[in-house]
């Protein structure tokens, strides 16, 4: 038994020893030199820096700190950034040759100069080694690629393709980044290579990373002037970047409340509420209600598998639309924090300007056939109603309701919905709907709890349809299952987010997938058009758009026509934008983009993030986490830090 006591004593001693030491999660560098960012993909059990391989994740700092490509377009401001390229691409008359002029004086982090050869190599190695992310499209389109001189690349294309440059243009999230030729050419099998340690073309280098996959630590390059970010916007302010995964949301909130996590990816409204009250330096987008960033480039919709009965009937889809009281969904399901998406795109600031606002008049006059009558389904007053509700709740509404909640949505008209359904043979007995064959109508709505708003939309809409008299249940599934079923068409109705947007008005790259040629039978994996929408008019419009150059004025007209077809047919019910609570802490770093100063999108998981870093300011130097600071101090530092971009 003596032994036992000794063990116990030992355990107790160790416990006491650890208690005397304070917690230290972060690396031992001055806090004022460090920006701590939430790692979007969570834990990656194996870090692979060869992100040109399929199924590798680049969003945990790799594409933001180490990678670079020719162009970027910021989705919020719509600004075109020439990164590695010195100017936009030049096409010949029939769009079969694309010439790119590169910036001079850009260097890899190991001191080798970046030249046209790197770009040529990136394309050729992917064509020669099928299995890379861009092997397919490059072999489809590229006839030849060569360096005309050290800073000029010429792409000869197999067929006219006026949007070829988009492969090297970060519109959303990422694109094809440029490979270091001097590293990869020495590798025997580039597909098996893990590119570790990585050579950087971005403004940072990898200093250290966790083999277990929880964090990645980057240090600013000494020669940051020799990178695109340095040349375009100057010195990225944080000397160090740390991408870290803290685990469940509760822990992220605690970490930011302790000023140990500067940027958090999408909190739930409730978590944001907690954080807002715990840390007054936390901010999302709007200074006041509804706070959230509503400029993400996707919008949520209730998607039908259009090959399945009864969702193949247009009247049924419209009836289900009109059976939704969207105001109730927004208020009770989302606490009033959501922007409405009546058109089948994501109403970002940019897209509202291109499409929602110009089409508003058309929407107001738009009618659907109900029996012998024409019914105007659009209701532009909903944003105002929500604003009224918000004011009743005691919130300040500081901007025009239209700029926060969108231009409006479809009316809540269960009576019209009833007529539409009865028209196509449905019956209603004792408040319950029956299919034309007499069976009770049951809907299973698929939602993804990991993407909390998807689940919330599903639950809120299921509630609406139940009130309408349809037996609706929600089935929540894991991400893998969710996307597999999406691809295979294994759903009746699902809460997905099929609508999209970007910084450019040219919607063809995003919408070509709705073409009928991508429709495959249910049960086969579809990579686009998962709702299996076979529509000749829409497909014709997409075909016409394909031949036009991205700056062609006719494109805008065609895009609007396409959205009109979407509204007419209602292939899926587009509801709200993917709002996000990307909380950032202004305790250490300030001048993040906001509704007042929307100079860039706040998405720190996109490759575009590297261009945001030069605009950040830290409030004062030197800085230590332990030091308390008074509010007066904060006031003066605000003055000191309000150097904004525009």
């Amino acid at each position: 038994m003596k032994k036992f006591w000794r063990v116990l004593l030992f355990v107790a001693l160790i416990g006491m020893l650890t208690l005397t030491l304070t917690a230290q999660v972060l690396p031992k560098v001055p806090r004022g030199d460090l920006l701590i960012v939430d790692a979007l993909h969570g834990r990656l059990a194996k870090t692979d820096f060869n992100i040109w391989k399929p199924a590798t994740q680049a969003g945990n700092g790799i594409q933001q700190a180490l990678m670079d490509t020719l162009w970027y377009v910021d989705p919020t401001s719509g600004e075109w950034i020439n990164a590695l390229a010195a100017e936009p691409p030049i096409y010949n008359e029939d769009a079969t040759v694309m010439t790119v002029k590169l910036r001079q004086g850009i260097y890899w982090s190991d001191g080798v100069e970046f030249t046209a050869d790197d770009v040529v190599f990136t394309v050729k190695v992917q064509i020669e080694n099928p299995g890379f992310n861009y092997s397919g499209p490059f072999s489809t389109y590229v006839k030849d690629v060569y360096a005309k001189d050290k800073y000029t690349v010429v792409f000869e294309l197999k067929k006219p393709y006026p949007r070829f440059h988009n492969f090297f243009n970060v519109l959303i999230y990422g694109a094809c980044y440029i490979m270091p030729k001097h590293i990869f050419e020495k590798v025997e099998d580039p597909l098996k290579f893990d590119f570790n340690p990585p050579v950087s073309l971005g403004p940072y280098v990898l200093k250290d990373y966790d083999k277990a996959g929880y964090w990645w630590f980057f240090e600013r390059r000494e020669d940051w002037q020799r990178t695109s970010v340095g040349m375009v916007y100057g010195r990225p302010k944080p000397k160090y970047l740390l991408f870290i995964y803290y685990g469940p949301e509760e822990k992220k909130v605690l970490a930011q409340a302790q000023h140990q996590l500067d940027c958090i990816f999408d909190l739930t409204p409730e978590a944001w509420d907690v954080l807002r009250k715990r840390n007054k330096y936390s901010m999302v987008w709007y200074e006041d209600f509804p706070w959230a960033w509503m400029d993400d480039v996707a919008a949520r919709g209730l998607c039908f598998n259009l090959t399945k009965f009864p969702y193949n009937i247009k009247q049924v889809r419209w009836a289900l639309t009109l059976a939704i009281d969207i105001k109730d969904v927004i208020i009770s399901g989302f606490n009033g924090i959501e922007r409405l998406a009546p058109l089948h795109e994501a109403p970002t600031t940019a897209f509202m300007k291109y499409f929602d606002k110009p089409l508003k008049e058309w929407l107001e006059d738009f009618t659907i056939q109900v029996g012998d009558e024409q019914f105007k389904p659009f209701d532009p007053t909903i944003p105002e109603q929500i604003a009224e509700w918000a004011k009743d709740q005691g919130y300040n509404v500081t901007m025009a309701p239209e700029d926060i909640w969108g231009i409006g949505w479809w009316k809540y008209a269960p009576d019209v919905a009833e007529k539409l359904l009865k028209e196509v043979g449905f019956t209603k007995k004792d408040g319950k709907w029956y299919l034309p064959n007499g069976e009770p109508w049951k809907i299973t709505l698929v939602g993804l709890p990991a993407e909390i708003d998807s689940a919330r939309l599903a639950f809120a809409v299921a509630d609406q349809w139940r009130k309408f008299g349809i037996e609706t249940s929600v089935e929540t599934v894991e991400a893998g299952v969710f996307w597999t079923r999406w691809s295979l068409g294994d759903f009746d109705v699902g809460s997905y987010w099929p609508a999209s947007a970007s910084g450019i008005a040219d919607i063809w790259p995003l919408y070509q997938g709705w073409h009928k040629r991508y429709v495959v039978p249910t049960g086969q994996a579809a990579s686009s058009n998962q709702i299996r929408w076979t529509n000749n008019i829409a497909s014709d419009i997409i075909d016409k758009m394909a031949t036009l150059k991205p700056d062609d004025p006719r494109l805008m007209e065609l895009s609007r026509d396409l959205f009109k077809v979407f509204v007419e047919e209602m292939p899926y019910i587009c509801t709200v934008i993917n709002k996000k609570f990307n909380a950032y802490d202004q305790y250490v770093w300030t001048n993040f983009p906001s509704a007042k100063n929307p100079y860039m999108s706040t998405a720190w998981w996109w490759g575009t993030f590297k261009f945001l870093l030069p605009f950040l300011n830290f409030y004062c130097t030197p800085f230590h986490t332990t030091r308390s600071r008074s509010d007066d101090y904060k006031q003066s530092s605000v003055l000191w830090c309000t150097v904004s971009r525009r």
Partner: protein, 299 residues
Amino acid sequence: MIERKRENPVKAFFVILRDMIKYNKGFAFGFFFIMLALCLTFLSFFSPYNPKSWNVVPKDLPPSLKHLLGTNSVGQDVFWLLTFAIGNSFLLGSVTAIIASTVGTIVGLVAGYKGGIADRILMSLNDTFIVLPSLPILIFLAFSLRENLNVVTMGMILSVFSWPWGGRQIRAMVLSLREREFTYTADSSGMNTFKIVFKEHFPFIIPWVMANFINTILWSIGMEVTLAVFGLSSLETPTIGTMIYWSTQYQALFRGIWWWVLTPVVLAVLLFVSLFFVSSGITEFLDPRTRLQRIKARG
């Protein structure tokens, strides 16, 4: 007591129950709590709200006379939700326990008495299931069967992993009982095997089966809570696990909506404690050792 049992088993049962409640405080507590829980379950049939609907009452109200346990952030009444959760969790546990105990007992008995090849086959099957990593497989099953997941199917899935423990234990008991003196005595005095098993051995096995039954209920409820943490339960069905899931989804603890998060937690604890007391009360009452003395004395 055995004499009484022969007279009228129903009456005897109530007499025993009365005695146990009188002399065993833990048992009394457990028994009354379980009765209360059953009453609450019964109440759920009179619930004014559909547990699957949201926004039927104002949100985030603290407990009051109108809403006994307050309301949650999706607009449900926590008290009425609780009545459903108790019932569903009980049902889940009972399904698991009934299947697991039945299969486990039969396998254990057959393996113990038959011996030989039957024993070897059954026990290797048994051991295979013990060795299988249960949680990952459960996660995988819950994950794949999502569509058909309800309280009953979930209970069935859980029972797959809980029967072997009971089976093993019963076999060991039978093996030791077979070697006891009284078995030899009964055997040599010409009692047939069937009679020996049911008259002499069952009194030893039954208490263990009952204790195991209750433990399986507990294990099953606990497992459902674990799966629900990952959202791998039938999330629309109120159970202890899904109540905890939704309350953490809405950060109830941080936002000070304690009545939402504490209700399922306290319920889980109370349910466990009372089932534990009941189970140990039964075991104590039916303790084979005191039993053995009684049988010996009678013989």
